[in-house]
Point group: C3
Chain length 269, copies 3
């Protein structure tokens, strides 16, 4: 049976994630395959949820069904949808998260769900609606049965870097990870296309500067030194060697940089 993954802002202390899993097992039996992507997305932060799921889902087998329990209450501006994109299924609210994570507003198949809840509760769509949709798909059912075709996902303009004078890539911090590292929206692909093989300097807030790119975190060998590299998601990341985000702090706290702060690559002539 296909895997069903969960990406939510439910946290891990409450009953929410467990109730969702129980409902799936009740629908599909004990052979259901449920995998947690994360329940620690910051509440309502669809950009953060998109970044996490975007970098996890491609490693799962095609046919995997991804339930997204972030800001998922149904209302007039927040329809419930199921989308098939690159062989994966995504079920969630049409709040922009699916278009951000797949970089697509066109899905191979896309429906607005017409599933009714069996409960007198409108606040737990993930359990009452999305689980039913996922179970249906996991049993091999078609999308047409659970919704009516629509044409486009809600587009949310991601915060994309801008390129100026073929000299600057102006991006920003989009995420701070578990280690306190600063993840930017500048990708390795864009860096190569714009920069070719030119020398460069990375400009951070507070006049911090970095003029080389590491291949690995560890090739820097001085505790507390700042470094830049393209992380395993292909995004430019600023880190502090051996910082841990906790006792020692991370780049975010040590450099005083936060989400949305600007990060610029300046290429030399």
């Amino acid at each position: 049976m296909p895997i069903i993954t969960l990406t939510t802002d439910f946290g891990t202390k409450d009953y929410f994630a467990a109730a969702v899993k129980g409902a799936i097992y009740s629908d599909l039996g004990e052979n259901a395959n449920i995998v947690d992507i994360s329940h620690s997305i910051q509440p309502f932060h669809i950009n953060q949820g998109a970044y996490v799921l975007k970098n996890a889902y491609p490693y799962f087998p095609t046919g995997t069904i991804h339930i997204i329990g972030i800001d998922s209450e149904l209302d007039d501006s927040n329809a419930h949808i199921a989308a098939q994109i690159r062989g994966h299924y995504f079920i969630g609210a049409d709040n922009g998260i699916i278009s951000i994570l797949t970089n697509e507003v066109k899905a191979d198949k896309l429906v607005q769900l017409n599933i009714n809840s069996d409960t007198d509760c409108d606040t737990f769509s993930t359990k009452d609606i999305f689980v039913k949709a996922a179970s249906h798909l996991a049993r091999g059912g078609t999308m047409e049965v659970i919704g009516k075709p629509i044409t486009e996902l809600k587009e949310v303009k991601g915060l994309n870097p801008t390129v100026t004078d073929n000299k600057y890539i102006k991006g920003s911090v989009i995420y701070i990870d578990h280690f306190g590292n600063l993840v930017t929206n500048i990708t390795k692909k864009q860096y190569r296309e714009v920069g070719k093989t030119r020398d460069f300097e990375i400009l951070l807030p507070r006049n911090y500067r970095i003029n080389k790119l590491n291949r690995t975190y560890n090739e820097t060998k001085k505790e507390g030194e700042k470094l830049a590299l393209f992380n395993s998601a292909g995004h430019l990341e600023i880190a502090i060697y051996k910082s841990d985000g906790y006792n020692i702090g991370g780049a975010a706290s040590l450099l005083g940089i936060k989400v949305q702060d600007p990060i610029t690559i300046e290429f030399k002539p």
Copy 2:
């Protein structure tokens, strides 16, 4: 094979939960079905554990076996028991948690466990005793084999709201969830029975007042506004629109209200 769930105060950084899972796999083989309800119950807080498991267990298939690893050291006043209630099995200490979560002191079947630990350690009953009981039940064994019948669960008086003059439901905050929302012990059932269709005002500490009930969190549209609704567990809950319990804070921190503080519904004539 039936699912075995785990509800503990072990946290997730230590070896405790993993050792329990390893022991189950060693007993039952790789086809064991283990599901985490939560390992983030506040240590020793049986009320919190009861609230979480109470709202998760009914979604699991009947026949599911629920291990409760909270305040479970064996002593004269804290026997180890297994209970069959509404088609589910519960294994834990007789510290009141099972009677709180099922609202029952009578179980369909109830035994005091007579299983001995194989180890020279009296502090890890969940691994050394409860896993054996759960594995026995998962293999289809009977409760009589692992314990001697007893008649009643320990009753712990839950903090139930009181009704005064058919006008007031006086309850209190029993739980603060991941979003910082305040969960009370006042249920939708009680609200309907007492209030019928009368107008009402919800009285919070510090003279805060709310005079409507939302259907959903999102129907309030003003950031930072307080709201009340019956949550997916059927309990009256006080929330702040789009608060997150973290950066922005939640109802608990923003309103300065904590567990055990009084929350009253006053019905109008």
Copy 3:
């Protein structure tokens, strides 16, 4: 199929652990058995990771494959290895963690991995290298295929207690658990060998003294009282009755004691 466990410092908010799981499912299919030991090891702390995995792995069935994603970037001083020890497989960096957790530098079988990553990324060895090794072993493949034999694990001198005059066992705090309890490197075995049946006093920093050993946490009955016992891992542990590491605090915060602080048992004549 054998179980594959994960012990990492990835945390639970990022995509790291989920990407690893997705890669395993893609390699092995939906019947892969993946169990989280912990993703909350403090970044780079191999001693902490060793303590956690050491006390979890023996409960798993023999044949289980343990992936260790802590400080695992490949470099000249940090080779990637796979070791077979006591019927379990360990895959990780040769940074000392495996020798600490197994108390062995000799493995039954030991290879340096010769697996190449398929990606243009050198920072995510756990996904790009260790998963391939684990999948190979899970399918019943031999270690010789994925690496070249080597003879010894890197030895890291653990912090072992010293015995003086047959009178003192001088140890130290090696770990603070979820409850705030202080775990020392003094084991029950050593206590028995040195102390026999003599009376003793446990000497803590700040002149705190304890002169009895509990069998259980609960046999102390006074809130806030400090106690000592051998924990379920067989290590001497200092705790505060009913402390929780959070609201009330734990032994660490209440006594002002931290990792590496000395703890001594003094035996009486």
